[in-house]
């Protein structure tokens, strides 16, 4: 959007790959609690879906962007492990916690393969494999962007873009909207997403917070769903 022109030239390709659905990170296995919210009757029409998606974006912004930007700024292994531990304690919802560590580990595996020169990523993989860290997604995404020297705001925007992409993809697969309508929603929610990024940009991890108690409650029901398409 307002990236400095020089910087963006080389990094566009990098960013596009990071947010490409072709990049194997397993994002589409997760519905961000949408599946549970539908079965609990909290999302049933396009209005409640719109609220759900906005709440999810707001929640990603308030709860996770602080960890994305902290990891982005601090690309060293020891500091990253500490942030990962804090994030693990912050993700008190076990369904969200599990989804976060599985997506994070998948991203870490992919990024370490795609960027073998970034030795830190290999080291982090070792740390996660040894059980010394959970490998949460926000922290992995932040450090990958940091090591790739992306612009800070682009990194945060991309993170929220992934949230929007994945939740809309889940909405289509749950038959709440068709693919065309989902694409239209993706476009129309751009302004909301950008406002969230602006509001939460560079917020400290001590200010990380949840904003939607109802959806949080429903999401933790996920394991009790009789039949389910998604992991979370």
């Amino acid at each position: 959007m307002d990236l400095p022109a020089k910087k963006s030239q080389g990094s566009d390709w990098v960013v596009w790959q990071l947010v490409d659905s072709f990049f194997p990170t397993g994002g589409f296995a997760h519905s961000y609690g949408l599946e549970a919210a539908v079965q609990a009757g909290l999302v049933s029409d396009s209005k409640s879906l719109d609220t759900f998606i906005k709440s999810t974006l707001e929640n990603s912004g308030s709860l996770l962007l602080p960890f994305v930007s902290a990891s982005f700024k601090l690309p060293d292994v020891a500091g990253w492990i500490e942030l990962d531990r804090l994030l693990n304690a912050t993700l008190s919802n076990h369904v969200a916690r599990r989804a976060s560590s599985s997506q994070g580990s998948a991203l870490l595996r992919t990024a370490a393969t795609v960027y073998p020169d970034l030795a830190e990523l290999g080291e982090l993989r070792g740390v996660v494999r040894a059980g010394r860290a959970s490998g949460h997604h926000a922290g992995v995404f932040g450090i990958v962007c940091g090591l790739l020297k992306l612009d800070a705001l682009t990194c945060q925007r991309a993170y929220l873009y992934l949230t929007l992409r994945d939740v809309l993809s889940a909405a289509t697969r749950l038959n709440l909207v068709g693919p065309l309508q989902a694409a239209a929603m993706q476009q129309s929610l751009r302004g909301f997403g950008e406002a969230v990024v602006r509001k939460c940009a560079d917020r400290g991890v001590e200010d990380a917070c949840q904003v939607s108690p109802l959806l949080d409650t429903a999401q933790a029901c996920h394991d009790h769903l009789f039949s389910r398409l998604f992991c979370s």
Partner: protein
């Protein structure tokens, strides 16, 4: 010299019984220590946290520090809901709470809900420092406001932080933040629900209680996501779920949302009933 905290409370073993060895409070906080809440034979200190006027006005800050000594049991509760009055000149009403819970001690914090009036701004920060085998029951909850006056999710902001540290390490860091937003008003996020609660359970003395809560909440959860027919009716609706947290999943957090505050009182009474054996009286009795 003015004390840093508006309230300080220390419970320690004295002659083999738990006793409040320090109970200090200044305006607007009052500590009420009734001696006969717990039935005989059960060693628990009960303290009511009371504020003048039953609430916190804009710009007021209440800070309370509590220490529960080895093997002691302390119950903290309130007489009725804590009212948060409307913000004047944008000033927050604030509560800060810090608890140290020692070896084999039990802290039960089971207040009535916080009710924020229209245009209120409320901020609450609660830190619980547990020793390795300390025990904690924490209830934190709030309502949509003064419904009888048509105030429904009409406050300006509500922020509640509950952090639990085990032997100095963070095991549960939770902040709920509800702020009015033009494109996402609080009422749209909460739908028909009028009360939201969180229950945290931690510690070896609570392991059997915790297990039974998990079973009951799990089956209620299952029911809530199956009963398609009842979705259209919001009558009597309560949604609850649980998550484990911390090393070896030793902690339990239960989240509840309901269309009536009374439903959450009933839920808490039922889920915490077994605590009577440890604290000497049934939680939320008569409420």
């Amino acid at each position: 010299m003015r004390e840093k905290w508006t309230g300080e409370l220390t419970v320690e073993q004295c002659c083999n019984r738990a006793a409040a060895t320090r109970a200090y409070a200044r305006y607007p906080l009052k500590l009420v220590l009734p001696s006969k809440v717990a039935c005989s034979g059960i060693d628990a200190v009960w303290v009511y946290l009371v504020t003048y006027g039953g609430g916190i006005v804009s710009g007021d800050s209440i800070s309370c520090k509590v220490s529960v000594g080895d093997h002691c049991t302390l119950v903290l509760t309130t007489q009725s809901s804590t009212k948060i009055y409307k913000a004047v000149q944008g000033k927050f009403s604030e509560q800060v709470f810090k608890a140290l819970v020692a070896k084999d001690a039990l802290l039960v914090m089971m207040p009535d809900p916080v009710t924020c009036f229209a245009a209120a701004k409320y901020k609450q920060v609660q830190h619980f420092f547990l020793s390795l085998d300390a025990n904690l029951v924490l209830v934190d909850w709030f309502t949509s406001g003064r419904r009888e006056r048509g105030e429904v999710w009409a406050f300006e902001s509500f922020r509640s932080t509950n952090n639990v540290y085990l032997d100095g390490n963070p095991v549960f860091l939770d902040t709920m933040n509800l702020e009015q937003d033009v494109s996402l008003p609080i009422s749209s996020r909460l739908q028909d629900f009028h009360s939201v609660a969180m229950l945290v359970i931690y510690g070896p003395r609570l392991s059997s209680i915790r297990k039974r809560i998990e079973e009951r909440v799990g089956s209620q959860c299952e029911e809530a996501v199956r009963k398609k027919k009842h979705r259209s009716s919001t009558h009597g609706r309560l949604l609850c779920s649980f998550s484990s947290f911390g090393p070896s999943d030793a902690g339990l957090v239960v989240r509840v949302a309901a269309v009536e505050t009374e439903l959450i009182y009933d839920f808490l009474k039922q889920e915490l009933a077994e605590l009577s054996d440890l604290i000497g009286a049934p939680p939320y009795y008569g409420k």
